[in-house]
Symmetry: C2
Subunit: 66 residues, 2 copies
């Protein structure tokens, strides 16, 4: 099980955190995800997912992986 840290741009509130978390949680291999709109930090736990899938999920939620 690995933990990876990402930075997401554009989250402004708790609703935004939930949107990002919901999209990332749908990725196969992801077992946990936590987003923080203040710092932009998104922590993802799991195995077998790649950065491209995370970037795509973040975009789907309406934000940008930086």
């Amino acid at each position: 099980m690995a933990t990876k840290n990402y930075k997401v741009e554009g989250m402004t509130c708790g609703h935004c955190e939930l949107s990002v978390q919901e999209e990332i949680a749908e990725i196969v291999g992801v077992t946990a995800v936590k987003a923080d709109h203040v710092s932009g930090a998104v922590t993802v736990e799991g195995d077998g997912f790649d950065d491209a899938a995370i970037a795509s999920a973040v975009k789907e939620a309406g934000y940008k992986l930086v």
Copy 2:
């Protein structure tokens, strides 16, 4: 049918607008509501609702009528 304009503090994104709109839309007498997080403006159409109900709905959504 009357239109009343309110100012709400704390909305930061489109999700926030939706939260405020959903709570206000539940008030009896309200027929339309539009919130704008940039200006904080909330426009409510309808009849028979009062400011206290709007304030209560805004608070329920997690924001503050100013």
